[in-house]
C-alpha cells in the first residue's frame, strides 16, 4: 500500500509522511522513540484516526482485510473463546473448533478457553489478541507494541507463528516497537520514525 502526503496534527504533535510504500507480503518494522507518532500512524492506516490530509491507497484491500493489535487490547465482557471467534462471527464464518483448540493449545490458553477473558494476565491478553488478529486471515496486520513486554519464551513463540504464516501464505505485517528486539530478526524492512516523520538511517 502507498501513503502520500499524509498529514495529521494532534495538539502540539504534527505528523507528515510524504511518500511511504509498504511492500505487500513483507514484514515491516517501525522503530522510534516514545511519542514519535508510531501509534498514530498505525491508527490512521487502520481507520481509527482520520488524517487531516493525504492519500491512503490500500491497493484493493478492504477494511475487512486489515487488522490492528493494540498495545492494550480490548477484550469483550465474555469468554476467551467468544473473544477469539468474534472476527469470524461478524464475517458469518463458522469457526473450525479443532483449529481453535490447536491455536489455543499452542499459546498455552487451552485451559482458559471458557474463562472470562478479562481475568487473563496481561501476557495472556496479548496472546489472545494475537490469535484473534490472525484467526480470520487478514492480509495486513499491524502490531502496536503488542509483542514487546513479553517474556523471551512467548516472544520466540510469536516469532515462530509469524514465520509459519509467512511461509504458508505471505501477508503484510507492520510491527511497531520502541526498541530493537527479537521481533526484528523477522523483518524484511525496518523503518525509522522521529518526531512524526520517517527518517533514513
Amino acid at each position: 500500500m502507498r501513503i502520500t502526503n499524509l498529514e495529521k496534527t494532534i495538539g502540539k504533535f504534527h505528523m507528515e509522511v510524504n511518500d511511504f510504500y509498504i511492500e505487500p507480503g513483507k514484514i515491516h518494522g517501525i522503530v522510534g522513540p516514545n511519542g514519535c507518532g508510531k501509534t498514530v500512524f498505525l491508527k490512521m492506516l487502520a481507520g481509527i484516526i482520520t488524517p487531516d490530509k493525504g492519500i491512503l491507497d490500500y491497493e484493493g484491500l478492504s477494511s475487512r482485510d486489515i487488522t490492528m493489535m493494540s498495545q492494550q487490547p480490548y477484550l469483550m465482557h465474555t469468554s476467551v473463546y467468544e473473544n477469539l471467534i468474534y472476527p469470524l462471527k461478524i464475517r458469518g464464518t463458522r469457526p473450525d473448533e479443532d483449529e481453535i483448540d490447536e491455536m489455543l493449545n499452542r499459546v498455552g490458553l487451552r485451559e482458559q478457553k471458557n474463562q472470562y477473558a478479562r481475568s487473563l494476565s496481561s501476557g495472556e491478553r496479548q496472546k489472545l489478541s494475537f490469535l484473534r488478529a490472525v484467526i480470520f486471515k487478514p492480509k495486513l496486520i499491524m502490531v502496536d507494541e503488542t509483542l514487546s513486554n513479553l517474556d523471551s519464551e512467548s516472544e520466540e513463540m510469536f516469532v515462530g507463528i509469524i514465520s509459519e504464516i509467512q511461509k504458508e501464505r505471505p501477508i503484510t505485517w507492520l510491527i511497531v516497537n520502541h526498541q530493537m528486539d527479537h521481533i526484528y530478526q523477522l523483518c524484511d524492512e525496518i523503518h525509522y520514525m522521529e518526531k512524526g516523520r520517517f527518517v533514513k538511517k
Binding site: 491508527k43 487502520a46 481507520g47 481509527i48 478492504s62 477494511s63 475487512r64 482485510d65 486489515i66 487488522t67 490492528m68 493489535m69 493494540s70 487490547p73 480490548y74 469483550m76 465482557h77 465474555t78 469468554s79 467468544e82 468474534y86 472476527p87 461478524i90 464475517r91 471458557n114 474463562q115 472470562y116 478479562r118 481475568s119 484473534r132 488478529a133 480470520f136 487478514p138
Partner: protein, 227 residues
Amino acid sequence: MLEWLKSVVSDAGIISAVKVTFIMAVSSTAISSVLGILFGLLLERFSFPGKKIIVRINRTLMGVPPVVAGLVVYLLIMRRGPLGPLSLLFTIKGMVIAQVLIITPIISGMIYSYARKSAPSIRAFAVTMGATRWQTAKLIIRELRKEIYFCMVTGFGRSISEVGAVMLVGGNIKGRTRTMTTTISLLKSQGIFTEGVALGILLLVMAFILQWICDLLQKEGEEDENY
C-alpha cells in the same frame, strides 16, 4: 407481626395501590429506558454544535424536583390545557407521562457518561476487527449491557419511590391512581400509622430486592467467573 402484616397487605385498597404502583413503574421504566438509552448513546456518538448545552440541560433535568415535573405535566393535561381533550388527568397514563419526564433524563445522562467512558475503545476495536456500523452498534450495546441494566433498575427505583408528581397528576384516587407512596402519605395525614408502616416495610423490601438485583449485576463477570 407476620399476621399483622398479612392483614394489612390483604386490604383491597392496599392491593390496588401495589398494583397501580407496579403498572406505573414498569410502564414508565420501559418507556424511559427506550428513550433514555437511545438518546444517551446517540449523544455520545455524534458531535454537533450545541451538544455541550444539551448535555448540561440533561444533567440539570437529572435533578429536577418531581413536583416541578408533575406541575408541568398537570398544566399540559388539565382540562383547559393543550392536551386536555385526551383526558389524561387523574389517570395512570398521566402519571406515567410525568414519570417518564423525570426518569428519562436520569437514564440518558447515566448512559451518556458510561458510553463516553467505554464506547470509543469499543468502536476502535470494532474497526480493527472489520465490523460494519450495525455490528459496531450491536457490540457497544452488548458491551454496555451491565450498565444498561443498572440504569434501568435505577429508573425503576426512582419510579416506585416517587410521590410528588404522581400525587399532583394522579390525584391520589382510591382504587385508581393511588400508589403505595401516596397511600402512605394519606395514611399519615389521617393519623393511621400502622398501615403506613406496613406499606413502608413493603416498599423497603422492594427496594432491597432491587438493590440485590443491582448487586448481582455488578458481580456478573468478576475475576474468577467461569462461562
